[in-house]
């Protein structure tokens, strides 16, 4: 069970939250200029990091606000919580084989 520190409500259990997957995916500014490969990459290809993953969460059963989380996907440790639109904080790289 994750304990997620909602920036607006404080630490709550993971069942109160919904997952929004990978953060910082930029919508193409010129969609008409994209070919099928670019669309496939934008729509389907995932970072799916084993290590530090930057991801979006929403406090569905609370304030219903979105925010970003940096989480280690092996130890499940939450390393940082930061608001939508903010740049990710500098974190040491963790890599696992």
């Amino acid at each position: 069970m994750l304990l997620i520190d909602c920036p607006y409500c404080g630490p709550r259990a993971e069942v109160e939250f919904s997952y929004g997957n990978e953060a910082h995916i930029a919508r193409p500014l010129q969609p008409e200029a994209l070919d099928d490969d670019d669309w496939a990459d934008y729509l389907f290809m995932k970072t799916n990091r084993k290590g530090v993953m930057l991801e979006r969460w929403v406090h569905s059963h609370g304030c219903r606000r979105w925010f970003n989380v940096a989480r280690d996907t092996v130890t499940y440790e939450i390393l940082a919580v930061y608001p939508m639109g903010a740049k990710p904080p500098k974190l040491p790289e963790r890599s696992y084989l």
């Binding site: 729509l43 389907f44 799916n48």
Partner: protein, 417 residues
């Protein structure tokens, strides 16, 4: 010649107090070069190596496993085998596997304990009933045995169930595939390993793949924990770690890795002689030959490589099991664990060539790869040996995410993925 397992070898070894059964497979040091290397020594990887050797006479092959054989998802699933998938492409793939399952123990000379005890997929509301009728009709058009049971039919087939479902999960009917059932998952890995080894395949455990040597868009070999191995053909069969390996080979995959949980109870006398699945509550249950109830739960909602699931998922599954089977309420769970499954956006696997020539990938099986083990290995071996997909796995290419030809089995596959 390897010892064949039969009643005479059993009797002979019984006389010697089972002290000198020969090893089921060798454990050689890797050679410096192979015709083909398979990365991943689970059921799918070992099956691929076996069919490469048996059907395509490619015996200078190594299987590289990062830990021990069948220690990943092959040894962590709930052992269910069925082929009642909705779409034609999936039906062809899983039915191909089912036909191989039916002769597998004889083919491998290894008892995989395949038991066609019947698989029920429950309907809890009118919508489920309509979905089931649709899927059963689709299955029959594809030549797959499948039938609809009403509530009384479910109770007759599985007397232990409570049709009221505690009011929360009333059982209105079910689909039944009588040819579905279970198989001993470890035996599948061991059986394929032994049979592949007998044909000359080198099985190398504790040999993680750290990277690939690629020049001019073509794979030249793999860098491993036991040194560099040259290979012109490399098949990746890595389950949950598909994206990790793909990243090292320089391409991206549409998969999300999440833990899928299962539990077993204390062993009890025979009480459940079929497999019960409920897509709506994402719980499945069967009873192993040792008497333990084997319970499958859902996936965590977030990316994870921790090989353990989160507690709320366990709670929800066990809650549903207790409503459907009040007689199990006081049973104690002995163990729970998780396996990392790589799920695709359309809940269908990828069996495909990759942007790197000579590199092939078999991944994305999500929550349901075990049942496909023989078929997956069979068509993937064909893809590697001939450098072309088999007609059955052609629709499961990586290119479908570019062309938009998705095989959307979400919900359609009789279970909520």
């Amino acid at each position: 010649m390897r010892t064949r397992y039969n009643v005479f070898s059993l009797a002979r070894n019984a006389m010697r107090h089972h002290a000198d059964w020969p090893k089921a497979w060798r454990s050689p040091e890797p050679k410096s070069s192979y015709d083909a290397v398979i990365v991943g020594g689970g059921g799918h990887g070992l099956a691929t190596a076996y069919y490469l050797a048996k059907e395509h006479k490619l015996t200078n092959v190594a299987v590289l496993e990062r830990s021990w054989l069948g220690g990943g998802n092959t040894g962590r699933n709930t052992t269910i085998v069925r082929s009642n998938y909705l779409w034609d492409e999936s039906a062809a793939l899983y039915e191909h596997a089912m036909k191989l399952w039916e002769g597998l123990s004889q083919d491998l000379n290894y008892n995989v304990m395949f038991s066609q005890r019947g698989v029920l997929n429950l309907a809890h509301n009118q919508h489920d009933l309509r979905e089931i009728s649709r899927r059963v009709n689709a299955n029959r058009l594809n030549g797959i045995d499948s039938e609809v049971l009403d509530a009384k039919g479910v109770k007759d087939y599985c007397p232990a169930i409570d049709l009221r479902g505690g009011g929360r999960y009333p059982v209105l009917g079910a689909s039944l595939q009588r040819r579905g059932g279970t198989a001993r998952h470890d035996a599948v890995a061991w059986g394929y390993a032994r049979a592949a080894d007998a044909l000359g395949v080198d099985i190398i455990q504790e040999c993680p793949v750290e990277g690939f040597r690629i020049s001019n868009g073509r794979v030249q070999g793999v860098q491993t924990g036991k040194g560099y191995i040259e290979a012109r053909k490399v098949g990746l069969v890595p389950a949950g770690h598909a994206s990790v390996l793909a990243e090292r080979a320089g391409f991206r995959l549409p998969v999300t890795s999440v833990p899928l949980q299962a539990l077993v109870s204390e062993p009890v006398k025979p009480v459940l002689d079929c497999v019960i699945m409920s897509g709506a509550v994402h719980a499945y249950i069967s009873q192993s030959d040792k008497g333990e109830l084997v319970i499958g739960a859902g996936v965590d909602k977030y990316v994870g490589y921790g090989q353990r699931g989160s507690l709320p998922v366990t709670e929800e599954t066990l809650g549903a099991i207790c409503e459907l089977f009040p007689i199990f309420r006081r049973m104690r769970m002995l163990r729970n664990w998780g396996g990392i499954v790589d799920t695709c956006p359309d809940a269908s696997p990828i069996l495909s060539k990759t942007p790197v020539e000579g590199l092939y990938i078999n991944c994305g099986w999500g929550t349901g790869g075990f049942k496909a083990t023989p078929g997956s290995g069979h068509v993937f071996a064909h893809t590697i040996a001939t450098d072309r997909p088999h007609a059955i796995n052609a629709p499961f290419s990586l290119d479908r995410f570019r062309s938009g030809y998705l095989i959307d089995e979400h919900g359609a596959a009789a279970v909520a993925h």
